[in-house]
Structure formats: structure tokens, C-alpha cells
């Protein structure tokens, strides 16, 4: 008799909890949302994410409380958000890096474990040197690296960061082998070249933009196959080395994600709000100031984009010998 009572109570509890779960999705959001940013405060990923987050929170009517969980090419943040409940109250604000985490061995997680809400910004890589650097053109830099293998110092952000990925492209096409020294972030890379502690760096355009404008650094080339709007004076890499065509267009992106298994109603509500936030002129103005370009893709389109990015980049890093872990082992097919 007692058992039956307990069973009955349990069943009632389950029904009730099901009911509340439904209600929760409809009422979302009813409390503040936590946002984990993959890179350190003050960087490009941080700034564009906080900016779009600020508009999103006004539209949602609750606050997004941001925490920078930098480290390990984004692996720290993906691990953190993945360990939280899939209830839409933990949003991952990330960059492109997790898409190579598996083959770089930096994390077991990539964006397959998350549902994209919106990819809101994209940008390009830029090869930068100090204003008084002896290198006037990309060709001079490449020739010098080839002449002194392992001697020319390149500032990077460590395994899985954009600088090392582009360095892999250059290793493949130009055969360059710089001495890569990892710093804490792209800002620190810029400091390193300005303080003459590194000879060059390759970062996202956003990190270089304000120093370029003030004349403290020179940008030798954009990692792109066309002129970049607003930077028409800067040569693009296929002008000098047409072989880069096979990798381009390629560039970092910034987006918001939730853990897989999040209620569909919550995902579509967030998707809608992020779409509206993308259209906000204040956001787009900041986007431009940070050397970024509008993107605004979500849903299936974003999933496809992420998959393609992962395939291209993973195989690039594998083929050029940066990593010995084959993308095939993770079911990542070689792009045509």
C-alpha cells in the first residue's frame, strides 16, 4: 500500500514537473542569463559580443551577465557551458576556434555540441609589423623567413588561435617556418610587435585596426582574395601569392550558441531577438570600428557554415602537418 502511495506521488511529481518545464519555455526568459565569452576582456570577440548582448538584453527584458572564460583556444568556455543545464540561461559567446579544437587536441568539444543562435560578425586576418620594421612588403617578410628558418619571431595566441592557423596556410603555400611565440591574446601580440619583442604577427583585422590608423603599425597584407572595404590601400594576399585562392575567402567569425538539447521554443525566441539586434545601427557602427563586417546568419544556414569552416580549416591544418590528428577520425569529410 505504501509503495503505491509513493509511486502515485512520484507520478504526480513527474506530471507536475513536465507541466512546469513547458511553462518555462513559454515564459523564457524569466531570470537573468549568463554569458560566457571565449576570449579575454577588451578583445574583438569580447567587444562585439558585449555590444550585441547589450541590445539583446534590452529586447529580452532581462540582463545578460557576461564572464570572460578565456583559455585554451576557447576550450575553457565550451567546457564550462557544456557542463551547465541546457535551459537557455547559459549562452556561449564564441569565435571560430572550437571548430579546430578536436584536431588540435585542445578540447573534445566543438560547435557540434552546441546549437548556433546567430553568427553576427566576421572579419579577416591581417599580417602586421611595427611601423619601423625593415619589412616593407609581404614578399620581403616571406623571403626573410625562408632565408632564416626558425629565426624570425611571430607572435601568436597559442594552439588553435587564428595566428597559428594562418601561419599554417603560409607554411603550406610559402614554406615559411617562423619561430612562433604564444602570447595571452591578440592585444598582447600587437604589444609584442610594437615593443620589438616579435618581428610580425597575424591577427584579426579588428585587433590591428586602431594601431594601423594611428600609424603605430603597418599592415603588409590582408588574408583575403579581394580588397577589404575601408582598407583599400592594403594589398590582399592573393595579389602576391595567388595560390592562397584555394583557402579563401576565410576568416574568423563571432557568434552566440546554446548547449544542444535546449528547448526549440527558446532557441527560436533567441534567434529572433539576435536577428533584430543585428539590424541595430549602433551595433553595426561598433562592428565597423572593430574592423568587422556584418554576417547575421542563423539556423540551418549557420550549421552549414560551421561545418564547412570546420572541414576547410581542419584539413588545412592536417595537410600542412600542424596537427597529426586526422579530421577523418572525427567524421570530418575532406571538402571538394
Amino acid at each position: 500500500m505504501k509503495k503505491r502511495w509513493i509511486a502515485g506521488l512520484l507520478a504526480a511529481a513527474m506530471v507536475l514537473s513536465l507541466g512546469t518545464a513547458k511553462v518555462k519555455a513559454a515564459d523564457y526568459p524569466e531570470r537573468d542569463i549568463q554569458g560566457s565569452i571565449m576570449w579575454s576582456a577588451g578583445g574583438v570577440c569580447d567587444t562585439v559580443s558585449r555590444a550585441i548582448g547589450a541590445i539583446v538584453q534590452e529586447k529580452l527584458g532581462v540582463s545578460i551577465i557576461f564572464t570572460n572564460r578565456a583559455g585554451s583556444g576557447g576550450g575553457v568556455s565550451t567546457a564550462y557551458v557544456n557542463a551547465q543545464a541546457a535551459d537557455g540561461y547559459e549562452i556561449l559567446f564564441g569565435a571560430e576556434n572550437p571548430q579546430i579544437a578536436k584536431i588540435m587536441g585542445t578540447s573534445e568539444l566543438d560547435y557540434d555540441d552546441f546549437t548556433p543562435i546567430n553568427l553576427y560578425s566576421t572579419t579577416y586576418g591581417a599580417v602586421s609589423v611595427a611601423k619601423d620594421s625593415p619589412y616593407e612588403t609581404l614578399e620581403q617578410l616571406v623571403d626573410d623567413i625562408l632565408a632564416k628558418p626558425g629565426k624570425v619571431i611571430m607572435a601568436t595566441t597559442g594552439a588553435g588561435g587564428l595566428p597559428e592557423t594562418v601561419a599554417a596556410m603560409m607554411a603550406d603555400i610559402n614554406g615559411t617556418e617562423p619561430n612562433m611565440i604564444p602570447f595571452d591574446g591578440e592585444n598582447e601580440c600587437m604589444t609584442a610587435i610594437m615593443g620589438h619583442n616579435a618581428d610580425y604577427t597575424i591577427t584579426t583585422l579588428g585587433s590591428a585596426a586602431s594601431f594601423y590608423e594611428s600609424g603605430d603599425i603597418r599592415i603588409l597584407a590582408m588574408i583575403h582574395n579581394d580588397k577589404v572595404p575601408g582598407y583599400e590601400d592594403v594589398p590582399y594576399i592573393t595579389e602576391t601569392y595567388p595560390d592562397f585562392e584555394k583557402y579563401l575567402p576565410w576568416g574568423p567569425f563571432y557568434g552566440a550558441f546554446v548547449k544542444n538539447g535546449t528547448d526549440e521554443a527558446i532557441v527560436s525566441k533567441l534567434t529572433e531577438v539576435f536577428r533584430e539586434a543585428n539590424a541595430d545601427p549602433a551595433y553595426q557602427e561598433l562592428n565597423t570600428a572593430k574592423g568587422c563586417f556584418p554576417m547575421d546568419i542563423s539556423g540551418e544556414e549557420a550549421v552549414e557554415y560551421l561545418k564547412k569552416y570546420r572541414a576547410v580549416t581542419s584539413w588545412l591544418l592536417f595537410d600542412s602537418g600542424v596537427t597529426e590528428i586526422s579530421p577523418e577520425g572525427f567524421g570530418i569529410a575532406r571538402p571538394e
Binding site: 549568463q34 579575454s40 576582456a41 577588451g42 569580447d46 567587444t47 558585449r50 555590444a51 547589450a54 538584453q57 534590452e58 545578460i64 551577465i65 557576461f66 564572464t67 570572460n68 572564460r69 578565456a70 583559455g71 585554451s72 583556444g73 576550450g75 575553457v76 567546457a79 564550462y80 557542463a83 579544437a101 588540435m104 587536441g105 585542445t106 578540447s107 573534445e108 626558425g150 619571431i153 597559442g158 594552439a159 588553435g160 619561430n179 612562433m180 611565440i181 604564444p182 602570447f183 595571452d184 592585444n187 600587437m190 604589444t191 610594437m194 615593443g195 620589438h196 619583442n197 586602431s210 594601431f211 590608423e213 594611428s214 600609424g215 603605430d216 557602427e285 561598433l286 570600428a289 572593430k290
Partner: protein
Amino acid sequence: MAEIWGYMSQALLNPQLLLFLGGGVFLGIYIGAIPGLSVTMAASLLISFTYSWKVLPAIAMMIGIWIGGVYGGSRSAILLNIPGAPSAVATALEGYPLAKKGLAGQAIGVTVVQSFLGGLIGTVILAFGAPYIARFAITFAPRDYFLLAVMGLLLVGSLGNDSAARGVFAGALGLFIGFVGLDSQTGHQRFVLGPAGSTFRTYMMLGVSYVVVMIGLFGMSEALIQLRDLEIKPVKQKVDKIVPGWANVIRYLPLSIRSSLLGTLIGALPGTGADIAALMAYDQARRTTKNPEVPFGEGAMEGLVACESANNACVGGACIPMLTLGIPGDAVTAIMIGAMYIHGLQPGPLLMTRSADVFWFIIGAMFVGNVFLLIFGFTGIRLFTKIVEVPKHILMPIIIILSVVGAFSINNSIMDVYWMIFFGILGYFMKLYDVPVAPTILGIILADLFELNYRRAAGIVGNTVPGLFVDIVTHPISLVLLIAIVIMVITSTPLFQNRKKA
């Protein structure tokens, strides 16, 4: 020039800005005093709110919180032996013994005045020397940061007790704790335990927050130790002479200036912040003070003077690379840079020419903010010192609760609480067996600076030790740092100390 004055005086003459600034300082003092709540946290919360505000009020409030917060950390350090922030660790070493003698009021009074002085000196340097210091600061190479970290590790001698072995052990433990987690350069998992995918493992991958360790080793363990002796009556606090007289200020002025200069420079280096500045200034005071009235470690005013003036001077220092180069000098400036972008400004080399009003307003706000600090710093002292007079059987459980709340509020993570309790118990045994806890905090603070820069410095010269040595002796800054280290080591050997006595 008149324009500059106009921009600067906005901080004083515009009532709305004045209100935000003053409110920020007041709030900052209390945020800083609560362990676990940090200025960084407050600033990153604020940035979300301030999106809809205008840019100047937002900056005014942030600067206010920053100035107040850096000072506030000293209050709980003095009264409860729990540093409110890592930059107040050295304050606890001298301040808490003073509180035990019934001099908490005087100790707080001195820290207020010294924080004000430090803040003022830092701001003056920012106003007049920013571009030059910034150019100097960015030339600091990884090898120089490595040498600075080595210098920092030598502080173990100053923070410990008479037993060198115990101090070194505690420092090494700190370094070890600092190494736990994902390697930020390669992503390798180091000393990470627990089954794959578990919350425990994820937590360890992130590394143990040094604030968690600090709250455990200082706060929780202090409460546990005190519970052994419930019978001892709390000391009655003297609160008649809180405001230090002119004679007192002038007597310590040379030390305040030295410490402030050191604090400003360390703050201006993009890789180091207020925590390291305060500890180095404390060490410097201990080495240069010939005859302290009270020995260091038992409540020497010189120790308080040095670390409190240095950590507030650091605020001005950290603004130097932020305002002139757009490079964050620490976590708070990184958030302010983000805030400025959101408000359509371009922090960095262009700020001084394109938005001179904002540049000079920030400097003006820092002057006025420090005056607010002097005013608000003297509020509530009488009430606060009463905390020390609360009977132990009531106070100690409250400290434990505060420690739990503090640890939880860092990341809203219950795991942080478990680790805090673990370090509390560890600290209890350390104290029981006379192992000093401060070197452990020092080790954690320095672990990244020490290790990552060593790897960078070695990498730059092709991973050879002789190469690194040659690189160090052929660069002026590095050579000066190396010589300083050698002198520091030699002067602390028994040989030298005996000769001095003879």
C-alpha cells in the same frame, strides 16, 4: 590649456557626474571590502547597465568603483584577516596584528590617507608622463616579465616567518596550485583529475581561482584557528585617534612616494597589476626600513603605508597603456576599453587627439575620485572596528558564512565553495604547524607570469638556457633587473646579515 582644465573640471562641476563618481567610490569601498566581490566583477556588471547611459557618467562610475574598490580590500584585511582583494594580502600581514592590539581604527586611518596619496601620485604621473611611460612599458620583453616574477618569488622571504624552509614550501605549493588546469598556450590538461565530462573535471580544467584559495587560506582558516581558543576576550578597540596627524603623514612621506612610483610603474606594465605592486612595495619597505617601531609582521605601519599607497597608485599606472595605446593594463582597464568602444570611442593612440575631452575627463575624475576616497574612507570606521569586539563564538561562524558567500559569488559556483573549504582546512593545518599562508597566495599570483614568460623568453632564443642568459645580459632593462635580483639574494644571506649586525 584652458580647454584641458575645462574638460578636467567637468568631474567636479557637473553635479550629475559628481554624483556618479562619488556613488561609485562609496559603492567600490564596500564591494572591495567583501572578499569574492571584485572591482573586475562590478565593472563587468556595470558595463551592461551603462550601455544605455551617456559615456561620461558611465566612465565616472567605473572610475569611482575602481578607486574605492582597490582601497576597500584593506578593510576586511585589517579587521578580519581576510583580504577583500588579492592586492590587500600584504595589508592583512600588518593590519590584522594591529587590530589584535586594539589599533584597527588607526590602521584604517593610515590606509585611507595612504591610498589617497598613492592615488594622487599615480594620477599626476598619468597626467604628465603617460605617453613616455607607455612607450617604455611596451618594450618590456617576456624575459623581463620573467625576471620580475623571479623577483616576486624572492618575496617569500619577506612574507614568511623565521623558518625559510616553511616559506619556500608554502610558495612552492602556491606555484603548484597555479599550474593546475588547461595550459593556456597548448591546451594540455595539467594535474586535472576526475572522470571525463564531470563538473569536477571541468572545474579543474579552468584552474582554481586564486581568490578562492585566498578566502580559504586567510578567512576560513583564521576562523577555524580562533575557534580553538574561544575563551580569549576580544581586544577593546581604541577609536579616539583615527585620522593620522600631519606629523605621521610627513614622517612616512618618502616611503609613500617610493611605493607610489613603484606601484605606478608596475601598474603601467601590461602584464602586471595591483596585487603584484602591493607585494613588491611591501617587500621594498621591509628591506629599506632600518628601524621600524614595531617589527614587520607584528603590525608595522611602514608595511601598511607601502602596500596601500602602491596599490592605489597602480590605478593611475594601469590607465597609462589604456589611454595612450588602447592596451589594457589589467582586467578592469580591459573592461573599460570595451565600454569605450560600445560608446563609440576609440581608445588607443587616437583617443588623446580625437576625444581629448574624454581623456582629460578621466584624469580629472581620478583626482576628484581620490578626494571622495579620503572623505568616504573615514566614514563608518567606528562602526566597523566594533566588528573586532564581537565575541568570538558569534564572530567566527559569521566569518565562515562570509567566506562561503564570498567564494560562491565569484562565479556562482558551488564547486568554488568546496574548494574554499578544502583550502580553509589546509590553511588551518598550515597555521597549526607554523607554515605561513601568504607565500602560497604569492605563488598562485605569480605562477602564470613566471611560467608563461619563461617559456616565451626561452622560445624567442630557440629554447636554450645559455641563449636566454646572453639575451638577458645584453639588454639594459633585463640586466638591471638581474642585478637587482642578485643584490636581493645576497643581502638576504646570513653572511651579509651577520656582518650588518656586527
